[in-house]
């Protein structure tokens, strides 16, 4: 499973083996299209079903039924004719649908007639004072360790933030015998009121009963402080304490581990680097690709499915994967499309899976002070650029994230903007009195993930390459 691609060209290349990518692969392959599934992880599942084929956590109730739902889809893909390559890093995609991949230290290129991006979500940056201290990590990173290695915190642990994944992680840690000293809930009180109009759809959705049960389970075991409006981590060289303000109450809690989470946002890097048009989503407060009804983007031949198309969770991701793949089948092998679920049925499934999403988006819309930091708080971890540095750069003429690169090198480090991009856009928008849409985002460039010089140098030469050089 770790070899180079068997062919130079495929009908469909799916990037990412989470719920959307697995569903897209199964659908495209079932219709007889030559399909390649590329995934960065050692096994299928993405983040939500991480290590589904290998996790040491075998007691089913510990990770929950939603987790194990992934196993069936993995089986469907594995029994299909699709070629699957894990530990494959896709570092380039362009509008000619040429895909640069790094597999086992060597680079390869494949060409696709259709590309389905299922690159999922990233955790939203949570730039509070002290967030770069050792001992502070994202909830997602903690969950990765939990699923892959059954590792849970056993020292003084504080979880802070908001959103469904925060509660899921807390429940999973507790079920595996991990320690949580306190949960600091940053959900804004005004959001409860704003979310009310969407409450009916939510209480009648699948999220409701599961979510409620999970929160009850956690609250029975851990002290939860709600209405947190200020948060800071502190310590000399590593985390020693977490301070917060909730209402009139101010407290400092000693802590060895602080897990932060305030929701997830689409992982846009590969799509943006390919030239896919994105727009600012003012509810989810992130960039989302501009898509047609079947996940098609502004770049001919590239579709996006799953949370990369806008956050809507694993169940919706599966349906969106099937829709995008059906779109590819309709374009490339219309006769085979008749065997698949009709598009109308898929869209009905999608509406059902997305029910309740507006409530969650509104309730868990992160507060301004946790998205737009001030003063000495670090924004860009790679280059150690503070919020004040960025405001100062605006004052001397930096008009957007790309100009800021020249002043401060933000977004030019190894994370390629994943940890600072949204913060920089919103901070500059506020400093300049513009909307995030007007301010824009970093122009992202391949390699979307770093590759070594030696690996690039070893790229196979072809006759066309030689001609390209003569022409240049």
């Amino acid at each position: 499973m770790n070899a180079a691609p068997q062919r130079d060209a495929y009908d469909v290349v799916v990037i990412g083996a989470g719920p959307a990518g697995l569903a897209a692969t199964a659908t495209a392959s079932a219709a007889g299209l030559s399909t390649l599934l590329l995934d960065e992880n050692p096994g299928p599942g993405g983040q939500v079903w991480r290590a589904i084929a290998s996790t040491p956590v075998t007691a089913r109730d510990q990770l929950g039924a939603d987790y194990w739902a992934g196993a069936e889809l993995v089986g469907e893909v594995r029994s299909s004719k699709a070629e699957i390559i894990h530990r494959a890093t896709v570092w380039s995609l362009d509008r000619h649908l040429e895909i640069g991949i790094s597999i086992g230290g060597a680079s390869a290129f494949v060409k696709a007639r259709r590309v389905i991006l299922a690159t999922g979500a990233l955790e939203r940056p949570f730039p509070i004072p002290g967030w770069t201290l050792p001992g502070v990590m994202t909830a997602g990173a903690a969950q990765t360790m939990l699923k892959s290695s059954a590792l849970v915190p056993d020292s003084r642990t504080v979880i802070s933030g908001q959103g469904p994944l925060l509660w899921l992680l807390a429940a999973q840690i507790l079920r595996l015998g991990g320690r949580i000293d306190r949960i600091l809930d940053t959900t804004e009180r005004k959001n409860y009121l704003a979310a009310l109009p969407h409450a009916f759809a939510f209480v009648t959705s699948a999220y409701f009963t599961k979510g409620l049960a999970m929160m009850r389970e956690v609250k029975a075991k851990v002290e939860v402080t709600t209405g947190v409006t200020e948060l800071a981590a502190a310590g000399e060289g590593r985390l020693a304490s977490v301070s917060y303000v909730a209402g009139n109450h101010r407290e400092t809690i000693p802590a060895d581990l602080l897990l932060l989470h305030q929701g997830v946002v689409p992982n846009v890097n590969l799509a943006m680097a390919a030239g896919v048009e994105h727009r600012w989503d003012n509810l989810q407060l992130c960039w989302s690709p501009a898509l047609d009804g079947n996940g098609g983007t502004s770049v001919e031949g590239i579709a996006i499915a799953g949370d990369g198309a806008g956050i809507s969770g694993a169940n919706a991701a599966v349906v969106r994967g099937r829709i995008a793949a059906r779109g590819a089948v309709e374009a490339l092998a219309p006769a085979a499309a008749a065997k698949l679920s009709p598009m109308a049925a898929l869209h009905a499934d999608l509406a059902k899976a997305e029910r309740g999403r507006a409530f969650l988006d509104t309730l868990f819309r992160p507060a301004r002070q946790f998205r737009i930091p001030a003063g000495d708080t670090i924004v860009c971890r790679c280059e150690e650029v503070t919020a004040r540095d960025i405001v100062d750069a605006v004052a001397i003429g930096a008009t957007g994230p790309n100009q800021l690169k020249a002043y401060r090198r933000t977004g030019m480090g190894p994370c390629q903007g994943r940890l600072c991009g949204l913060t920089v856009t919103e901070l500059m928008a506020e400093a300049r009195g513009k909307t995030p849409q007007e301010i824009g985002y970093y122009r992202l460039r391949a390699p979307v993930k770093p590759i070594t010089l030696a690996e690039l140098a070893a790229m196979p030469k072809t006759d066309d390459d030689v001609k390209a050089v003569v022409r240049g």
Binding site: I396, Y407, P414, P447, L453, A457, K461, D465
Partner: protein, 373 residues
């Protein structure tokens, strides 16, 4: 509504911004029109080489003029532009190439130019210790160096604005025409009018020249660059090769910029480029061979900026051959960044004084007139 200005400059690259600044220094109030933002294309994303080395003889006087300005850039702009002068070194990889270097330096000396200096293998390794042992020597231009291109272009723009230039970004200049003795350009719903028009529109300048009846053999190109992760400091000067397409520069923060002129496919109407990875792989192979210390570095990012390249690889700089009050400043063909400060100064002299002491006659648009070609 029509607004009057002393000059209209189309294009907010380093050339347009430098001309705008030098016009304000001469007491004029120009307006600069940039369809995106200053430094959006080649001027902001080039390799930042400040190089007199290995230039065509026709542009050496302009390059020398520019070098004088670079060395006082902080005084001019109140911004150091991250300019550093550690020299630029051209590496000969074998004796044949070294012989060509020797002939070149002799030719320049005969013309009275002394900035290029032939060096042997010992001096080469003193300047560039990491270079492969097989390289027998090369040429150095010791006053050369590098600067941060986006910072520099922005600094010119900012200073020009401070001294009274109007900078209009985000709206394209359209309907360029001459009426009632004035150049007129529409910018959105407004019209600017001025006795002087400077065409400094980079990759878009050829279209303007052609529309005004002065077509120039110019194509749109997008030279590619890539930058690595930080590696331990191992090199000070900028290095270019005599025989292969490679330029190489390590920044203070340890990152290494690799360029050399391999081209991406530009799409100028979309403001986009599609990178040619097989060509970048060739650059990677060249670095791999010549600088073993770089083998484990990672490539962080690759990009290309859109610009204009003329048929003879020389810029068009000077007055129009057809129209009073029209000046061209474009077609810098992958080596215009270092020339920017000097070209703006020269352009201001041409506009204000009607002439310049700097020898630029060979860069005239006249050379492309049908009768001259």
């Amino acid at each position: 509504m029509t607004k009057l200005a002393d000059a209209i400059i189309v294009g907010g690259g380093i050339h347009g911004c430098s001309t705008a600044l030098h016009l304000t220094l001469a007491g004029m109030k120009p307006v600069l029109i940039e369809k995106d933002y200053a430094g959006r294309h080649a001027s902001g994303v080039n390799a930042g080489g400040v190089r007199q080395l290995a230039r065509h003889v026709a542009e050496i006087p302009l390059s020398i003029r520019s070098m004088g300005i670079w060395e006082r850039i902080n005084e001019l702009l109140d911004d150091d532009c991250s300019f550093e002068s550690h020299g630029q070194v051209l590496v000969a990889e074998n004796e044949t190439e070294l012989a060509a270097c020797r002939a070149r330096v002799a030719e320049l000396n005969a013309l009275g130019f002394t900035h290029e200096e032939l060096i042997d293998g010992t001096e080469l390794r003193r300047l560039v210790p990491a270079v492969a042992d097989t390289c027998p020597g090369g040429v150095v231009s010791r006053r050369d160096g590098a600067a941060n291109p986006a910072q520099t272009t922005t600094a010119f723009r900012r200073k020009a604005e401070q001294l009274g230039a109007t900078v209009r970004e985000g709206v394209a200049a359209s309907n360029v025409r001459r009426e009632d003795g004035l150049w007129r350009v529409d910018v959105g719903s407004e019209t600017y009018a001025a006795p002087v028009l400077v065409n400094a529109a980079g990759a878009w300048a050829g279209r303007i020249a052609a529309a005004l009846g002065e077509p120039v053999p110019v194509e749109t190109v997008a030279p590619m660059l890539m930058i690595t992760s930080r590696v331990p400091h191992f090199i000070d000067p900028v290095v270019i090769l005599r025989g292969r397409k490679l330029s190489f520069k390590q920044f203070k923060n340890g990152t290494v910029l690799i360029g050399g002129g391999h081209l991406a496919t530009p799409d100028q109407d979309r403001n986009e480029t599609v990178l040619d990875w097989p060509s970048l792989a060739i650059s990677a192979r060249t670095v791999f061979e010549l600088f073993p210390v770089m083998r484990d570095a990672t490539i962080m990012r690759a990009w290309a900026g859109i610009e204009a390249k003329t048929k003879d690889d020389l810029p068009v700089l000077g007055p129009s051959a057809h129209h009073a009050g029209l000046y061209h400043q474009f077609g810098f063909s992958l080596h215009g960044f270092q020339l920017g400060p000097g070209a703006g100064a020269v352009m201001a002299e041409l506009i204000v004084n009607g002439g310049t002491q700097t020898r630029i006659g060979d860069l005239s648009i006249d050379r492309f007139r049908p009768s001259n070609s």
